[in-house]
């Protein structure tokens, strides 16, 4: 980030994500993790959704934990249990089975997903690095991430660019993206879906290529194509012309800074 820019990368991608939200969207946001992972999986999505609500998508809403449409005008400051317990929401079904059913019947429009590995065709790994039965690094498992990729029309991958993360082929396919082992998701038996865009700290990527291989959609101000390619272990599709990621406007920045996350709880790191 160079000094002359008057917004952070977090603010940039938050505004970008907000622009992906359509009015009436129901978004699936995870609850867990800490530090930078929290910012990516929870912080940016919640701020972006609230920003969308306050600008062009007043009827957008979120399913968070097992809270359907929690009141994003009062996001708790510290996420200890009691903040979740008492967060006002439209509904809190008796168990998570309700959310699972909503996923299978395709009630969600958008989801947010991070992973330890993402590959060229959008497969994600949050289960294990190395050999599954005796892994080099055992990760958390899978949660509902396979469901997001199976049933949500527009999953958004939130992951910082790094050669370790962006690999040609993931060690373990937790969640099926657009193709795997030469077979498309449809070949495998999945319906429409798979990741729509990949939001990183240096660029936005998508899968708008003939064979659905990951493609650079835009590069953030201050970064070069080489910065992006140098942070990936595979070569994505590189269009002839790559636009700059649109900058947040003054109103968006004001809302993020003054109204939505004034104490930088969500966009902390």
């Amino acid at each position: 980030m160079t000094a002359e820019l008057d917004y952070t990368v977090n603010e940039l991608v938050t505004a970008l994500v907000a622009s992906e939200i359509r009015d009436g969207d129901l978004a699936f946001v995870g609850v867990g993790t800490n530090g930078r992972a929290f910012t990516l999986a929870v912080g940016i999505p919640l701020v972006a959704l609230r920003l969308a609500q306050m600008t062009h998508a007043p009827a957008a809403s979120v399913y968070w934990g097992n809270l359907l449409e929690p009141d994003l005008s009062s996001i708790p400051d510290h996420l200890r249990q009691d903040s979740f317990t008492n967060w006002h929401a439209a509904a809190s079904p008796a168990d998570v089975g309700y959310k699972c059913d909503m996923l299978m019947r395709r009630q969600f429009d958008v989801s947010f997903d991070s992973g330890a590995q993402v590959d060229a065709y959008g497969n994600l790994n949050i289960t294990a690095l190395g050999d599954y039965t005796k892994p080099k690094v055992r990760l958390v498992g899978c949660l509902a991430q396979p469901e997001h990729f199976a049933f949500v029309p527009r999953p958004i991958i939130m992951t910082d660019l790094s050669q370790r993360t962006f690999v040609e082929k993931v060690d373990f396919v937790t969640s099926v993206g657009h193709a795997r082992d030469g077979r498309t998701r449809e070949d495998w038996g999945l319906g429409p879906g798979g990741p729509s865009i990949v939001v990183t700290d240096k660029a936005i990527l998508d899968f708008n290529s003939p064979d659905r291989r990951m493609r650079i959609r835009s590069i953030h101000s201050g970064f070069t194509l080489d910065d992006v390619l140098g942070a990936m272990s595979f070569r994505p599709v590189v269009p002839d012309e790559i636009p700059q990621t649109p900058a947040p406007n003054a109103e968006q920045l004001r809302l993020i800074r003054e109204k939505i996350d004034p104490r930088r709880v969500l966009l902390k790191v």
Partner: protein, 299 residues
């Protein structure tokens, strides 16, 4: 109705090494940690565990070398990172892992709750979750529509352990009206064969029966109920107390080495003869009261 109120050791008595045990709670909420520590003290080993999003329960059992096989959707420490002892044991090849996504685990629990051998999902086609587990996932075609479906095996457990809010001596367990419902305890209870419930508080049956719609675990399904205040410590029971962040930090610190966590388990699981001893060990009721939250008018 039968009286089912017993001590923790009586309740856990039937559990033998080698059993399959389903464990309730989710993330830093209502992990039945008092019961887990008792299992470790009793030296139970070689367990197959079935969980939703497990943190301390699975990690402590893994640290004690008590898990032979794990089946669940998540094992980690939520905001505190990966599950250090579970991770170490899996990486050492000591635990056989079977991962399940949320719709898969829900289908497994519902199948057991319905007395069925399997239920279908449409989720895991092409995922290694299913491809690496042909024993518990099988494709078939819907007999009516012909559509491709994936059957997932029912989650039958020998024992089920859940930590709940309040219950009566007959085993009826109720939730407060304002609570965090991000778990599957109700369906895990319904799927159980032998169900052991610890609760924060035993209340009168008269109190329970005035609001039967709040009963999420009917006593009819329960084999034993135990009053275990702060039974989820160091995680939270929503509506009662928050997670003990300082203790969790200490747990993670001790977990950095096998020796550290062994000493931790000695101190907090193996040496205390009872949950009361454990409470004394972590500072007593007065210290734990600092974690208490305001109970809603409806709690």
């Amino acid at each position: 109705m039968k009286k089912k109120l017993v001590s923790l050791d009586e309740a856990l008595g039937p559990i033998q090494s080698g059993s399959t045990v389903a464990i309730g709670g989710s993330l830093l909420r209502r992990q039945p940690n008092a019961a887990i520590r008792a299992l470790i003290r009793l030296g139970i080993k070689d367990l197959t565990v079935q969980t939703w999003a497990s943190t301390t329960a699975v990690d402590m059992l893994a640290a004690a070398g008590a898990i032979r096989r794990y089946e669940g959707i998540y094992a980690g420490m939520f905001g505190f990172g990966l599950a250090p002892n579970f991770r170490r044991a899996v990486q050492n090849g000591e635990i056989e892992v079977r991962d399940f996504s949320e719709t898969a685990m829900v289908a497994r629990l519902r199948a057991a709750g319905q007395g069925l051998p399997s239920l279908p999902i449409k989720t895991l086609f092409g995922s290694d979750i299913a491809l690496r587990n042909p024993e518990q996932f099988r494709e078939y075609n819907c007999p009516i529509s012909g559509e491709k479906l994936l059957a997932v095996q029912a989650a039958y457990a020998d024992f089920t352990i859940i930590h709940g809010y309040v219950g009566d001596e007959f085993g009826n367990v109720q939730w407060p009206i304002v609570r965090d419902s991000d778990d599957v305890d109700m369906m895990m209870g319904a799927a159980s064969k032998r169900l052991i419930v610890t609760v924060e508080k035993i209340v009168s049956h008269d109190e329970i029966k005035r609001r039967p719609a709040l009963t999420y675990i009917p006593g009819h399904l329960v084999e034993a109920i135990v009053e275990v205040p702060y039974g989820a410590h160091p995680v939270s029971t929503d509506g009662f107390y928050d997670e003990d962040e300082a203790h969790l930090e200490r747990y993670l610190q001790e977990s950095k080495t096998p020796e550290g966590i062994r000493a931790y388990l000695d101190a907090f699981a193996r040496e205390p003869a009872s949950h009361e001893d454990y409470i004394a060990k972590v500072g007593g009721r007065a210290a734990l009261a600092a974690l208490n939250v305001k109970q809603g008018a409806d709690a």
